[in-house]
Homo-oligomer: 182 residues x 2
Amino acid sequence: MERKLLLLGLLRLEDMHGYQLNEFIDTHLGSSVPIKKPTAYNLLKRMEDDGWIIASEEQAGNRPPRRVYTVTEAGEAAFQQMLRAHLARYTPDAYPSVTGIVFLDALPPAEAVALLRQRRAAVVALMDELARTHDAHPGSLALALEHRRRHLVTDRDWIDDVIAHLDQPDPANQPEQLETHE
Amino acid sequence: MERKLLLLGLLRLEDMHGYQLNEFIDTHLGSSVPIKKPTAYNLLKRMEDDGWIIASEEQAGNRPPRRVYTVTEAGEAAFQQMLRAHLARYTPDAYPSVTGIVFLDALPPAEAVALLRQRRAAVVALMDELARTHDAHPGSLALALEHRRRHLVTDRDWIDDVIAHLDQPDPANQPEQLETHE
DNA sequence: TATAACATGTAACAAGTTACATGATTTC
DNA sequence: GAAATCATGTAACTTGTTACATGTTATA
């Protein structure tokens, strides 16, 4: 359960309320680790029920009071355990974006190339966004961003290779022959 | 909806029944595009309701009859439309495995390295599995497998870099300084 | 004074998974 | 004769999202 780990870990670094957490994730992690607001609020409530965190309410004016969360000892233990479990195993990382590729040969090459160029633009846009976000980051956050960057590069290069391949008008070149060049 | 696209696309290549489809995906796609059996059966039923595919029942002995599906014209149209939409845009590809990395500095370096080595072994195991699967593939399936292979390589190399970094006993080297070497 | 930002949530829905159910046929 | 494979499904559960609800305070 990555999102619990993330929220717990961030709260461990600094006590925060829900809104603040959402802000932090939006600005520092951007699209890398997506958590929607209601999800975060919901997880916080459930972790509070589990005794992993406790809230202290802070009233500011007449707004809804901020629920500032602090990690408890039980929460710290849970964090340590989840972190280890999470680091050691490798969840195969689903690539939803790859499905369409399987049927690339169902399209005329010219159109396939045009679509892939659109996709490439989207990848590059994400890379740019990442580059812009790349300032000071707490903890090992920069490691995660670098990880993401490398995968974006991998995707971009791969798209380029596929496009290059499709652009060759020689029909003897099956798409299967794309070079592996490790 | 990647799974619908996948099932439709496979049925377009060859009429199949649910069990057969599940087999095919298991053997040819392995862990790359995970669809569980009940999910596949469920999607097939719903696509039948939508008129994208039609089933013809084949009785063999006294077993439950095989429901062999064929793509209809409406299904073909849906496939073409979904394929284009899918190829053109780039879904950010969530990396659940990266969350733990953010808090890598919460662990003693030696333990972090040990855990990362376990993770590395899991990545390499997947690469081996992929290499074994790498025989004849219909359509552009090989492209998808190559895509996956490259991402596994990226992950393996990245883990190696992080390990190398943690192994340096010099405390002046913050994890943030991991080289980008593009 | 209207809009954005602050701050929390609820309720309905969507997508998939796990575990369970059922029974026939083939293989060891 | 036991175990694996064939073949289909249902039901409960988990996880997360979208859309909605509510009201306050700062900013343009």
